[in-house]
């Protein structure tokens, strides 16, 4: 009996070590596939032309190091402006999505009124139907409103695009909030607006952060709407700017690689800071779904 147990235990342990090695081999292998293309572009952006072509896989050395690509990008391209545009569009859209989304979610989860159920369904329809399918009419609308080639047009579209998922997640979460705390505030004579801003908003702050990180990626990375609504030089976002810059500089490889790196690096820095929030956000959404 005991010998059987020990052999089984030993086999179990051996098996476990073998399994662990296999697990790490697969995960490490795929991790390399995931980050290799990013590494190779950033690495080669710091090399001169000869270094890029003769030894693409080597780290920049004393002989091959060069920042000429970055010099070209900074002098020829208008990347500071594009960054500014992307930043304005993303931050303002996020602010509107969070504020208006939280207000709507509060109304839908807190008050009983006719049309509540209907409005809830109406607001989340947009999750299933991509806003891009209305592009033809969006462009006409922006022409009529005289908003073509303004950042406002992008902000309005991204806010409309981000609201359904924000309202959905925030409504689900607000329904779990205790009613007592809000009722206490009412007894104390706080207005409904103060209850929202002073009682509810502090309680939902973690979820707001999650929604923010979640909504940010598609806005920052979008190519479709900047291309169609705001492609003038003064309103280009960084995604569109890089896309067109590369189109012009196809032969200047160090400039192309540098402009790609310039677009990649801030995203990676932000991700390093917010990755925990982003991952917990996706996880929370999935558990609910």
């Amino acid at each position: 009996m005991s010998t059987v147990d020990t052999t089984r235990a030993r086999r179990g342990r051996m098996g476990r070590i073998g399994t662990a090695a296999g697990v790490h081999a697969v995960l490490l292998g795929y991790t390399l596939i995931a980050i290799f293309p990013v590494l190779i572009v950033v690495m080669n952006s710091f090399k001169n032309r000869r270094g890029i072509f003769t030894e693409p896989l080597a780290l920049p050395g004393p002989e091959t190091f060069s920042a000429e690509g970055y010099a070209t990008v900074l002098t020829e391209g208008n990347f500071l402006l594009y960054y500014g545009n992307s930043l304005i569009v993303t931050v303002v859209s996020l602010f509107l999505i969070l504020l208006l989304g939280a207000m709507a979610a509060h109304a839908l989860s807190e008050y009983r009124f006719k049309l509540n159920a209907l409005l809830s369904i109406y607001m989340i329809l947009g999750i299933m139907v991509p806003i891009r399918l209305g592009t033809v009419a969006i462009l006409q609308l922006m022409v009529d409103l005289n908003l073509v080639n303004t950042l406002i047009s992008l902000i309005l579209v991204y806010t409309a695009q981000g609201l359904p998922i924000a309202v959905f997640i925030l409504t689900e979460f607000m329904r779990t909030l205790s009613r007592d705390i809000k009722d206490c505030a009412r007894v104390d004579g706080l207005s409904e607006y103060r209850i929202f801003f002073e009682v509810v908003v502090p309680l939902i702050r973690p979820v707001l952060a999650t929604v923010a990180v979640f909504s940010m990626i598609p806005i920052w990375n979008d190519l479709w709407f900047p291309l169609i609504l705001a492609s003038s030089d003064a309103t280009k976002t960084v995604t569109l700017g890089v896309q067109q810059f590369i189109g012009q500089y196809t032969v200047n490889w160090s400039a192309v690689l540098a402009s790609l790196s310039i677009a990649i690096l801030p995203v990676l820095v932000l991700y390093a800071i917010f990755s925990r929030q982003l991952i917990s956000g996706i996880t929370a959404g999935a558990v609910k779904g």
Partner: protein, 322 residues
């Protein structure tokens, strides 16, 4: 909804609350901004696109009702139909490749991560990096790597003795669509991985313990206990993949291949067809009515997919829920 209502009416403080809150002006103030922006810039354009698809432009700039004439042209006119069916077919291939490569790969990675290996958090973080990058960036990065000019891919493959397999995949009619699809898989595999990983974590420990006591091996536990429980998540992943194929796939193909879906329309999808139809290109002038028609067709195709999912897949899946 009924649940909320009954909960509220059963609440001892409801009466007081209702007396205090009285009017509905604050409800309007809370709801109006979101409902207005969403209705004007999302719902109205969609309905307007559907409406425009039923009209045709006149030379004097006005438009005239032609019923389903545009759809008839798109589906049956020789010039249009060949492009439409080709784009739709390419979209379906794109979807198919994602379903057989991206989602199983996401499932595999999630299953391995759910075993809580050491450095699991690091792997997860790094594998998700490509998902954050702009499709434009991803497109160019891969274009450079696969380029015969630079030779990184060729060099790497020769290094492991597979150099003879290399071909300029993005430029060949036979392989361009597959190459683009796999680039997209590379970028987005993080999403199914995360969703499935989260679902696997939410499987109750008692169930797994019970299965272990019953003598099931780790492999059997995965197939017989965990997998049936996460089927709803796999359903969500499938429908997200389906919708994504008709929207975000455009960015990748536009930045790698351009708006014509070269070589010879082999990577032309509904998104590029819509863009081209709406804005025109060298040999064709833009046509908002046909553009709206292509968009409306995409709307119906997405609707068909979502309906199949809601009626067929989801209803069957809920039986497994606990």
């Amino acid at each position: 909804m009924t649940e909320i209502v009954s909960e509220a009416s059963g609440h001892s403080k409801t009466k007081r609350r209702r007396r205090k809150t009285g009017g509905i002006s604050h409800i309007v103030v809370f709801l109006a901004p979101a409902v207005l922006i969403y209705s004007i810039f999302s719902i109205y354009p969609l309905i307007e696109s559907l409406r425009l698809s039923l009209f045709d432009g006149q030379s004097d700039g006005s438009s005239v009702w032609i019923g389903l004439g545009n759809y008839d042209r798109l589906l049956f006119d020789a010039n249009w139909a060949v492009r439409f069916w080709n784009a739709l077919w390419n979209n379906l291939i794109l979807f198919f490749i994602h379903m057989i490569v991206q989602n199983p790969l996401g499932l595999l990675l999630a299953a391995l991560l759910s075993l809580a290996p050491r450095f699991g958090g690091t792997y997860r973080t790094l594998i998700f990096v490509p998902t954050l990058l702009s499709v434009v960036i991803v497109g160019f990065v891969w274009e450079l790597i696969l380029s015969p000019l630079w030779g990184v891919a060729e060099g790497l493959m020769s290094g492991v003795g597979l150099g003879w397999l290399y071909a300029p995949w993005l430029g060949l009619e036979s392989s361009a669509l597959t190459a683009v699809s796999l680039i997209s898989v590379w970028q987005y595999v993080g999403i199914p991985m995360m969703l499935i990983y989260a679902a696997l974590l939410s499987v109750p420990d008692e169930l797994l313990d019970a299965a272990r006591v019953d003598g099931l091996s780790g492999w059997a536990i995965f197939w017989k206990v965990k997998l049936p429980l996460i089927l709803p998540t796999l359903g969500i992943v499938a429908i997200l993949t389906y919708i994504g194929n008709f929207t975000s796939a455009f960015d990748l193909i536009y930045s790698i291949q351009g708006v014509l879906g070269p070589p010879d329309y082999s990577t032309d999808i509904m998104g590029t067809l819509m863009f081209r139809t709406f804005f025109g290109q060298q040999t064709q002038i833009g046509d908002i009515y046909m553009g709206a028609t292509v968009a409306s067709m995409m709307f119906f195709i997405i609707l068909i997919g979502v309906t199949i999912y809601l009626v067929g897949v989801q209803r069957r899946l809920t039986r497994y829920e606990m």
